[in-house]
């Protein structure tokens, strides 16, 4: 009897080990050979590099992201970054941002934008299928855009849309509340992704949370909570089936652990590479380091309306004390670019070599004294508990000390910080990254529009008529010298009023197996697995 029990226990243990061994490294769909034994699955992990060369496109792709999303519903996603990367694989919008940042028609076949930018007529692409093999129609487009407006998550991108009407089976017309030049860019974001009307109406509005239904190149096969998303190339995809048939997105929250997984061959591509790991990745001939500037910059934001920094002299003092290069060297290990203009550097309108006041600690000291703090002042600075923010905060504290501004760094988790700084603007100064998910200067500039104060839109509480006028004017202007000139004036106004103090542009540091082709850095994280292929 005892023997039987111990035998059973031993078997259980063996099964557990077996499950652990085979789960991590491979996508379930891959095993075509008959029931691999435990040893084989371990070998799979070790030999994945060489095996790939032989099996070429049949090799599954394993893409690492940091955080698992709560929802896959494109119209109900808040925040930027990882959720978008996932949705780009399954969903498409009327337009698409290509890897060079240009916007091309996607589910729109063609379009006519009214001369005064007050409406846009779109001819919907024919022969596009949802993942349940039903064709996409103008009804789906109208339904999706209306849904995006109704959910309330997407005001930044659909706020300008008044209504959407169906003209005929393949044409729709979008009427705008006011002339809005960046509308095409808005229609390229996932906020305006096209979902299946029938599918949502039949299964209920919440179905898209875990069971997406889009037109993208990959179809979601399985969601293993806390571990991975498993995808299969959709054969009827309108641009042709993806080259890599099986793919999965694996969640590894620690960046260094992910870098180690990449080195051991457990994953093939990763985002958010820690700058401390870059030298190791670069030295490894089996790996490639892929980097580029992000559509995101780190800046010091002040509460312009109340508190110590409502006094422009105090804000100027900060401007005069900041040594941007020192912050890049230490906080970003040198992988960053000094930034002086308040527009993300990848935007066409971002002025190059934008001049800011030179460092002058003596003058800063005088300004602090003039503002009423000859003995100096101690200010608590809420800081997100994450190296991206706490490292520059540590340096900022040191750089501001000589002029009499003593900072007390107060680390807190992101949600608490968001609540305190973004939604309640209950702060004096903070370090913040200004990220945008689509490339238009208006998305950056709108963060400083007086009308957006409160509610999280404009939390520097800046409300200056001159700046407001420039922002609103920028929205009407089509791309060109006049728009560039307008945004230069905007940058100057932000600088002259010391609204925020830009520090540096972040980099998108990605790493991938050297056998994976088509990997490029995207400023806005438009990373399409569709573009990837195995190098023979």
């Amino acid at each position: 009897m005892k023997k039987a029990i111990s035998l059973a226990l031993a078997l259980c243990l063996l099964l557990t080990l077996c499950a652990c061994g085979s789960e991590a490294p491979k996508a379930p769909e891959e095993e075509k050979d008959s029931a691999p034994a435990e040893n084989e699955s371990v070998l799979d992990t070790l030999d994945s590099g060489t095996e790939g060369e032989a099996a070429s496109d049949q090799k599954p792709l394993r893409f690492r992201l940091k955080t698992e999303p709560n929802t896959l519903d494109p119209h109900k996603t808040s925040g930027t970054g990882d959720p978008q990367v996932i949705q780009y694989q399954m969903y498409e919008s009327l337009f698409r941002e290509e890897k060079d940042g240009t916007i091309v028609p996607a589910l729109a076949e063609s379009y006519e934008l009214a001369e005064d930018s007050t409406f846009i007529v779109i001819h919907v692409r024919q022969g596009v299928f949802f993942h349940n093999d039903t064709p996409m129609t103008a009804d789906d487009v109208v339904f999706s855009l209306n849904r995006a407006i109704e959910t309330g998550y997407n005001n930044a991108y659909v706020g300008a849309i008044d209504n959407v009407e169906k003209v005929d089976d393949s044409t729709i017309k979008i009427n705008l509340k006011y002339a809005y030049a960046p509308i095409i860019t808005c229609l390229s974001t996932l906020s305006t992704a096209i979902v299946s009307k029938d599918y949502v109406e039949t299964n209920g509005d919440d179905i898209l949370t875990r069971s997406p239904m889009g037109t993208g190149p990959y179809k979601l096969e399985d969601w293993v909570s806390g571990d991975r998303l498993v995808f299969k190339a959709y054969p009827k995809y309108w641009r042709g089936e993806a080259q890599i048939k099986d793919a999965s997105i694996i969640f590894i929250s620690d960046n260094t652990a992910a870098a180690i997984s990449l080195e051991t061959g457990d994953i093939d591509v990763m985002t958010n590479l820690s700058t401390a790991d870059i030298p190791t990745i670069k030295e490894n001939p089996e790996l490639q380091f892929v980097t580029g500037p992000a559509a995101s910059q780190l800046l010091v934001t002040f509460n312009n309306a109340s508190g110590v920094f409502a006094d422009a002299r105090m804000r100027e003092a900060v401007y005069l004390c900041i040594d941007r290069q020192a912050i890049v060297d230490v906080a970003a290990d040198g992988y960053g670019v000094v930034q002086t203009a308040p527009l993300d550097s990848v935007l066409v309108e971002c002025p190059k070599d934008f001049e800011v006041p030179e460092m002058n600690v003596e003058r800063a000291k005088e300004l602090v004294a003039e503002a009423g703090y000859p003995e100096g002042i101690t200010i608590s600075m809420p800081t997100i508990d994450n190296g991206t923010y706490s490292k520059p905060a540590t340096l900022l504290k040191e750089q501001l000390a000589p002029c009499g501004i003593n900072i007390d760094i107060q680390l807190m988790e992101r949600a608490a910080w968001d609540d305190m700084v973004i939604y309640n603007t209950n702060y004096e100064l903070a370090i913040w990254a200004l990220p945008i998910t689509a490339l238009d200067s208006d998305f950056c500039a709108s963060k400083f529009l007086g009308a957006n104060c409160g509610g999280g839109g404009n939390f520097s509480n800046c409300s200056i008529e001159e700046i407001d006028e420039l922002i609103l004017r920028g929205r009407f202007l089509p791309l060109g010298p006049e728009r560039t000139e307008n945004y230069l004036k905007f940058c100057e106004a932000i600088r002259d009023n010391f609204v925020v103090c830009p520090i540096y542009t972040n980099m998108r540091n990605n790493a991938a197996s050297a056998h994976l082709g088509g990997v490029y850095p995207s400023a806005t994280l438009h990373m399409y697995m569709y573009d990837y292929y195995w190098i023979q």
Binding site: A276, V330, D385, K391, T394, Q410, L411, A416
Partner: protein
Amino acid sequence: MEKKGRSQSGAIWFRFQKNKLALISLVILGAIVLAALFANVLIDPELVTTTNSSLRLQTPSAEHWFGTDLYGRDVLARIVYGARVSLTVSVTAVFGALIVGGLLGAVAAYFGGHVENIIMRIMDIFMAIPSLVMAIAVVAALGASTVNLVVALIVARAPQFARVVRSAILPIRDLEYVEAATACGTSHRRIILRHILPNVLGPIIVQTTLQMGHCIIQIAGLSFVGLGIQPPTPEWGSMLSEAREYMRRYSFLVVPPGLAIMITVFCFNRIGDGLRDALDPKLKN
């Protein structure tokens, strides 16, 4: 085999020093405490927080014995000043917990009945929550600062003291000398503080020493996750956390804070063990 005429503390010391490991621990801990006390004499305080991007991530050398961290700060200086922070916070927190928990435990044991039931059941509720989780909850609610960290540690540690003190008092509560004191009309306060507590000092001292070690680990843990000591104040846990990212290429960065935590906690535990043996009259040979 003791000599006659030795005072009580002399006897305790005699038994304690027979435990060589405890003795060595006491010497090491003494050195750490002295270094922490005279940190500003030994090392220029400027070295602790002044960043210098041209000196960052240097390997150990004659100039920087433990190397420099990612901000170019001297690691040795930060370890020594970190000892100050760790020891001050843990001593304050453990004594706070001792006073709060000890008094609650003493009152519970002395009065018994409903009072005991209510106090100890509340303590049980506190103990049902892992102390690190409890401390995280308190810090998250109050906000991260050194004072709040101490409060969190007191809340997390007090129930342990309450339990130990109560269990130590229970057997002596009904002894004759307590009854005698009661018969003389001595107040409850005086009986607890002057008659009972001095007689359970042994287990309390042992518990305090052992808790000191736990406390240092907990401070380091909280700082590691960013809820403890705020940067740029040096603290062993936050130093570990900062160095973790660079561990693969600059492994010398994680060793000093890790060893500092390990050695200090080990010393406290050995001393606690030695004291337990020395103070327990039943173990007298």
